[in-house]
Symmetry: D2
Subunit: 341 residues, 4 copies
């Protein structure tokens, strides 16, 4: 199978190239870029020199699957025609994640360039939408924050054990902001919160939590923070436990773990861990580590969830979806363990 | 005035030495250490070579004020006799922070060595206990997390605009754990939550929030995180706004800012800032930066508060208290601006 | 083929486990540890949980190849009997690197526990000793600094274009010191030189440079530095160009590049690069990047060489040697690209 | 005395502002900026909010001393007229550092805008040019790399104990490149060499070494490296010891230390240390730490020298010069100890 990447020059694009290079079943046949067009891929990313590819302004040749790593709006414009031609498209932008066009337009301040494909696009959080992904022709890869947050909360939400009153306090490394952002001297040795008036990943999280809750009334506060590291996202999720659901204390902790273990028992890429996880344990692999517990004094569910924002939070999850769409084992090309330390 | 430091060999002790060295009104006359006794201070801390002091096993000479940077329990044992002799004591350990002995003993798993002084000891969060600090002979310097958390929540708590249902998600640099902790390779490029079953700074925060609220029923979830930086704490504080208190939206934000501006209008060391602050803006100085806002969708107060854990969160605040006790200007020796970048 | 690791609990051991896990031709059948014996590997290294191995005090079962990641002296003691039994041994310690026993004993301050195997042991810098490695039964994996330094200097040394008056100024991340070393707060935001009276990797570099030079008189100054990062070594190598060898200026640069390109033209794991490389371009893979140039004003060869100290500088090079010993393609299990950024 | 800063918006400018704010004898009366003109200083540097200054396009009011933190060429153009008017000028750019105009023009690729002041300008490496600085009206503050390198080599050079065949391998934090440079994700966890074809600080070092050597033939190789930290420069300096100068071994080490101790015995800001120093021990203060030793096997002097590139390597040294020019104690406003850890 031949695959292509639109806009290989950002971090999501370059990680896609790296992962696809070692995927035994596909050939990365075409990569595009804007300002980098005409250059060899190895010129802008020396670690990819061995791929021996030249960046072109447009895709070339016949392709079975196309990944788009363009920014929102630009992505929908570019992949619309491909979808029409019947090419399988996996879009890493935000364009096809939100089912409600008015929400998209409110948060992204732009008219949707391709509204006709929104309904049929599948939200590619594989663990929650596996059966829809396989037959899909357009998959929207979730954002990095939503992947960590939703995987952290889904079992509790689905099981109905928490009130729909949720706080996600997320911590991200710098690479999530894209290539060339944040000068070292002003990020290092510092932590800050940002987007306190509302981050664009919030409505995505809300949409999925509402769906899991079967309601439309989840009150969600989402506050992202920038921490001085390159990769990794850790989401700390808080919600009141429903009083009826549990007795207090250790019983609640055990019951919550059971809910989570059951929910993820068959998953290759989500692990319910016994100790609070660190992002370093996910560096370079496609896993999300989830640690659910209970603050028994306050009667609150606390879940810590973490992943590599460029892998499970972007390129890896995109390939995971591709595997389903093409009928390969879900973890093909994604079995690499984390690099530690 | 002559001052001494018990246990100068940790980071709080060494920062005390550094700050006191440049304080124009006092002379650092004696520093003690255990394993380092007999060495010159400059041998264990080369940046303090100019202080020209030798570490002794016990305090020497007559001293007007003694700082203790010993661990809990060991500290109370050591300073008890000094209090009895009428020496002013400023204790950086946890021993005299908690007014309820049973809470102390539950969280610190030790019988209090000096219970007779607990009642009269003053909780040295200067901004909230200023009038008690001045005449005190024993001041308990708050923990680093509590300083950031309580300063972040105090105005809202005092004004009665939030429900007593609070989450503090705190992020700390590594120096808070003390000297020699956390190997670089396993901390760098990683974020993790810890002490999810309860951190010892929690009861301290509860005690002060209860006091401000005039109740004893604040439900507090406190989750600390370790981030890859040396200094700095950032506390993200969440609480539901009381419905009656505010209309929604921008009115709420403005009203909250007013509450905070009023509360801190006369403070030298707490600044209500207009943009979410970064810990880097406090490096090396005694300020706490507080940014209050409202998540208008969820009706929630969100406050971001940050400081240098070794200065305002430890040694600087200790000197701030000393200044009050000795009748100096509160910011004497503490006017240094942050080092940036 | 079944392989075992003695002392899996350090970083070299854990990286061996990670790499061997994804090697298609071998099975990691036994891992030992001292204090960790009895624990599951995933308990001490959560990222290795999927290997599903229990750490034992001694190797178990019949093994075709054994890696030792023990410290020097302890390693020779342990692998001696294995060599005697005819097991292929790949030793990551310093015990079999130095051919001159008196040099070993001078630098390591210990009597060699197994001197009888020193002569036949092969110094496993694969690129320089490939033909000896294949038939060897005992291979000594070079140190991380020597690998970077020797690969940086070998072509020039061999070609006889430099005077034997060499300085290697090397910069290493913290993981080279082993697990649990160097507290974060005292390493971060700092650079330092160390071992200025002589580092144990120096005689190893001397031995190989002497061999390449065909003399015994290379004057080598080797100064290692600790830089605040987890992985990576960068060696900056300096030597006077022989006057006779080159005309000055751009001719010299071009000629030097030719020498290097020729020397490494058939290598999978050494790349002569066109721009000064960064250690980040080697993170997690087995490559050494070499950039040779000339300071034409001073008539000096300058070579920058870098690699991942735990891969090409330890575990990866060990597996590269194993591949040769077992007759697999030299890059089997080692084709992974660097993780960037 | 009233002082002004031209171009306060870079790191050197902001550090000048911070230091001058706490200087008891001068008032910072005017600060200029280009794109930031019209803003309050606290808007672009929140940590400087307390200075209560507005950035103007041009200097305002009558000033006794003006610091220029403009880039080269732009600086000479701007300060020329001030020098003519008799204002004391301290220039942090490269414009007045090099005495040989042709060297300046070769390295900076620009015609010198103010050649008439080059001869009388004083190279403000205070320790070497103290007597010239006091009466000067135009002082050129040395670059950060030259300050560390020259202070590391000056005693040996002056004493005539080394051959004029020198290598300086320097490691710098990121702030040296100026504000907004180097995205975090591509600098963190990485080391690289740069400017291998010649760095602009090289001729400055040559000029001063030639002067100390009394010759014009020092062969200098200078290779800077970028390390992942914000502040700090560490220069590792290598030179062959003159054979006649010393017997080998420990005698040489002791003699070298004597040379260095003598040379710097009266200096406030250069300390000859007993252990290899780390840059962290200079964070935020004006000291240069120098550690001289001998590689007795190779007969080579090795000196490690380090400082805070924004203080002793820029703003602090500028203030040190100002103190001399205005007749204040040389360390006025500069007595702050390093912030550690």
């Amino acid at each position: 199978m031949k695959v292509g990447i639109i806009n290989v020059s950002g971090y999501a694009g370059s990680e896609l190239a790296r992962i696809l290079h070692s995927h035994p079943e596909v050939e990365l046949a075409s990569v595009t870029g804007r300002s980098a067009a005409g250059k060899r891929l190895g010129e802008i990313y020396p670690h990819l020199e061995r791929l021996d590819l030249t960046i072109t302004p447009d895709l070339t040749g016949s392709l079975d699957v196309v990944f788009s790593a363009l920014p929102h709006a630009a992505s929908a414009e570019r992949v619309g025609p491909l979808v029409e031609q019947g090419v399988n498209v996996i879009d890493l932008s935000a364009d096809f994640r939100l089912k409600d066009l008015s929400v998209y337009e409110e948060w992204y301040k732009v008219e949707h360039p391709c509204p006709q494909y929104v309904e049929d696009a599948v939200y590619g959080l594989t663990e929650l939408h596996r059966t829809e992904v396989a037959p899909a022709s357009l998959v929207a890869v979730p954002g990095c924050y939503p992947t960590a947050s939703i995987l952290g909360l889904a079992p509790a939400m689905k099981a109905g054990i928490i009130e729909p009153d949720i706080i996600v306090d997320a911590k991200s490394g710098v690479s999530g902001a894209g290539r060339g952002k944040f000068p070292y001297s002003e990020v290092n040795e510092s932590v800050m919160a940002y987007s306190l008036d509302g981050h664009r990943h919030m409505p995505e999280i809300s949409q999925e939590l509402d769906r899991l809750d079967g309601s439309a009334d989840v009150a969600l506060t989402f506050v992202p923070h920038l921490v001085p590291m390159t990769r990794g996202i850790l989401a700390s999720c808080y919600a009141p436990l429903k009083k009826a659901a549990f007795a207090s204390g250790d019983v609640a902790k055990a019951r919550v773990r059971e809910v989570y273990n059951d929910f993820y028992s068959d998953e290759s890429f989500v692990t319910v861990v016994d100790e609070p996880p660190m992002t370093k344990h996910t560096l370079g692999n496609n896993c999300c580590l989830v640690y659910p517990t209970v603050d028994t004094r306050a009667g609150r569910l606390v879940v810590i969830s973490c992943l590599d924002n460029l892998i499970k939070g972007a390129a890896g999850q995109a390939v995971q979806n591709m595997n389903l769409m093409l009928g390969y084992p879900e973890d093909e090309g994604l079995r690499q363990l984390a690099i530690y330390p």
